[in-house]
């Protein structure tokens, strides 16, 4: 029973990281831009959020709780947004190839994240990681730790507020995309920028805002990874890159709909942790080499999902029609 609870617990936390990335990427892709820079954006956001929390904690003896929340969150969002801005400048204004630009952004973001972490390590003198403990405490504060509510509390109430914020964000984005005029405009831009342009929608502006905002959300995902999943430690070894790619794949799985991203992320995360949890749950002893093989599951599942998604022919399950194509007004 306990191992089942811990499996669900770690899956919800891991799923939230993927969900932030997927929601950010859905927003970006709705504007017709496939951003393969999600891992880079997560690194940027994670690092900026962590570093700002780290610096703030060291600069004062009595950190203000509100500032502890606001500073890293804003920094994470802004840093990743700048990454999104760089991407949109290249792909929207300069019309560079989206796949190639995204990959370059990933290299750059991962480079900056690891470089920055090395700098932080040299500040603390610690060997493998640095910690922002006060920030982590604020971000992981939860009801279950105050009032012990048994299994129910452990499964549903033992997370920091960002975990619930991710679900709320998914609902809000769903409402925005499906029930507001601006959401309709954004979808039009992604489906057919030429028509949207003719209808008087500022295509460039929509693309920029969606890409930058989407980038910012990915950044918060990276920050959440550091602060909740790694409990406030930035270590030189982390697997943010793989999470970023899973998030990109999840966009296809959730058929570009934020509300689907909610359950899809948790499902992905459950599969991700299957390798480590299923053996303990069932009491089967597994050699460590086989565990490495079992860790393939999320990637194999992703592939299966891609294949299943590609056999679906319903038009509402497809991605934005102009996804991946640059828009140049004079070329129709």
């Amino acid at each position: 029973m306990n191992s089942l609870i811990s499996w669900i617990h770690s899956s919800i936390i891991y799923g939230t990281v993927i969900m932030f990335g997927a929601l950010g990427e859905i927003m970006t892709e709705k504007s017709g831009h496939l951003n393969l820079g999600v891992p880079g954006l997560m690194y940027l956001g994670g690092f900026a959020g962590f570093a700002s929390a780290f610096v703030y904690e060291r600069s004062t003896d009595n950190p203000n709780t509100l500032l502890l929340i606001l500073i890293p969150l804003l920094c994470a969002f802004l840093a990743a947004m700048l990454g999104g801005l760089l991407y949109s400048f290249l792909t929207v204004t300069l019309r560079a190839n989206q796949n190639v630009t995204g990959l370059a952004l990933t290299s750059l973001g991962v480079g900056i994240g690891t470089f920055g972490s090395a700098r932080l390590l040299s500040v603390t003198g610690s060997q493998s990681y640095s910690v922002a403990s006060a920030t982590s405490a604020v971000y992981t504060a939860n009801i279950n730790s105050v009032a012990n509510l048994g299994a129910f509390g452990q499964i549903f109430l033992s997370y920091g507020f960002l975990t619930y914020a991710a679900v709320l964000l998914a609902v809000l984005l769903h409402l925005f995309l499906m029930h507001t005029r601006r959401g309709l405009n954004l979808r039009a831009v992604g489906e057919n920028p030429g028509t949207a342009d003719a209808a008087g929608i500022n295509v460039t502006l929509y693309k920029y805002i969606a890409t930058c905002f989407g980038g910012g959300i990915c950044g918060i995902g990276g920050f959440y990874y550091i602060i909740e999943y790694s409990s406030g430690k930035w270590s030189s070894q982390n697997s943010l890159e793989a999470v970023g790619w899973l998030a990109v794949a999840l966009v296809i799985f959730s058929t570009w709909k934020p509300k689907n991203a909610i359950w899809a992320s948790y499902l992905f995360a459950l599969l991700f942790w299957m390798a480590t949890n299923l053996p303990t749950l069932t009491g089967i002893r597994i050699a460590s080499s086989v565990t490495e093989l079992l860790k393939m599951t999320p990637y194999i599942v992703t592939i299966l999902v891609l294949i299943i998604a590609s056999t679906r022919k319903k038009i509402e399950n497809r991605g934005p029609a102009s996804l991946g194509l640059s828009y140049f007004r004079e070329e129709r």
Partner: protein, 364 residues
């Protein structure tokens, strides 16, 4: 954009039909110069040394001795081989971004022979075996996504990417299985090491890289296969009308693409690392994508860009080695990132022109 209704906008874009070679060279050279300047400024900011020191260090770190020059060429050649492998796939609009996985798959296939039979077979037998199975291994790794792409139009970008992680886990599995102490060092065997040529251990890497570039150039530009690739890449409907089998061409090209990357894996096992690890391929998977794209599959450009990136890399690591307390090797990735962004950005000035208000669209 907002003033559109009342008057002509201040800036306007027009597409260029053709670009003169002189302009193409000038724009790219300017982008490279700017990128190098930016890298220099970045280093000045993080190291407290002057900009001339930075460049002097980068140059001396690359060309100081025969060892550093060899490292520089070796890195450039590995990047080049992978980029050459990716080129035909991209020309066919098949986004193979799983070069990393194909390198690993080739490396695993090669290391298998080395591990089990490295003491029993002479070099003349085992090296060809390793070479061929590495090519087949890498090829299969690219073939699987290709089959699904043709059969179900499955998104090959993410499929090839996921194959990377599957290869990584397979390598981790093999490392543990092959080595009881869970840390596989060099697989030291009597044979299976690429021989030195003219006293240079890397010489055969250079030869294979040069051969890869030349053969791929001929294949893509002078053969029927190459022609079919470009027709499918640029006009799939024309290809269908002309009776070119999309299935056959995509499968074949993906296999070749993966096979060349697999050969890079063979070189890592037989000449560079003498073992397998998940970091094999040096993170060149994505960089090679960008190299192949920037060079527009032109082999000469590909060689030049690979060498430039290798220079940025060796130069960066020289500066890192002089400031080990504050910097680490990831700085090379930042510089390569900066470099690639400039190169990507400059493409715009080759494809479009900015027209000022009242200006004429000349040069059409």
């Amino acid at each position: 954009m907002k003033n559109e209704k009342t008057r002509e906008p201040l800036l306007r874009l027009a597409k260029r039909d053709t670009v003169s070679p002189a302009r193409a060279v000038a724009v790219r050279a300017a982008a490279i110069a700017l990128a190098l300047l930016f890298c220099g400024i970045f280093f000045v900011c993080v190291t407290d040394s002057s900009i001339t020191d930075v460049y002097a260090a980068m140059i001396s770190g690359t060309f100081r001795s025969s060892i550093t020059v060899n490292t520089f060429f070796k890195e450039a050649c590995m990047l080049l081989i992978i980029a050459v492998g990716l080129a035909p796939a991209f020309k066919m609009s098949f986004w193979n971004i799983g070069a990393q996985g194909q390198v690993l798959a080739g490396g695993m296939a090669a290391a298998m022979w080395l591990f089990y039979l490295g003491n029993n077979l002479p070099n003349a037998v085992i090296l060809p075996l390793m070479f061929v199975s590495a090519a087949v291994g890498g090829g299969i790794w690219a073939l699987i996504p290709a089959v699904f792409r043709v059969k179900f139009t499955t998104n090959e970008t993410l499929f090839t990417l996921m194959m990377n992680y599957i290869a990584i886990q397979l390598i981790k599995f093999l490392r543990i299985t092959w080595s009881p102490i869970h840390a596989l060092g060099m697989i030291s065997r009597k044979s299976g090491t690429l021989p030195a040529l003219f006293g240079n251990a890397n010489a055969l890497i250079y030869v294979i890289a040069a051969l890869a570039v030349i053969l791929m150039y001929v294949y893509m530009n002078k053969t029927k296969h190459g022609y079919e690739i470009s027709v499918i890449g640029e006009a799939p409907n024309t290809a269908r009308y002309a009776g070119i089998s999309e299935f056959r061409v995509i499968i074949r090209t993906a296999f070749i693409s993966g096979a060349v990357c697999g050969i890079a894996g063979f070189l890592y096992v037989s000449a560079i690392d003498h073992t397998i690890s998940e970091t094999m391929g040096g993170g060149y998977g994505f960089t090679a994508v960008i190299v192949a794209w920037l060079a527009k599959f032109n082999p000469i450009f590909m060689t030049l860009i690979s060498m430039l990136i290798s220079f940025v890399r060796t130069g960066s690591s020289e500066i890192v080695s002089r400031n080990t307390t504050t910097l680490d090797s990831s700085i090379a990735n930042i510089n390569i990132g900066i470099f690639l962004f400039f190169m990507l950005g400059c493409e715009f000035f080759l494809n479009y022109k900015v027209v000022f208000r009242g200006g004429k669209e000349t040069g059409k």
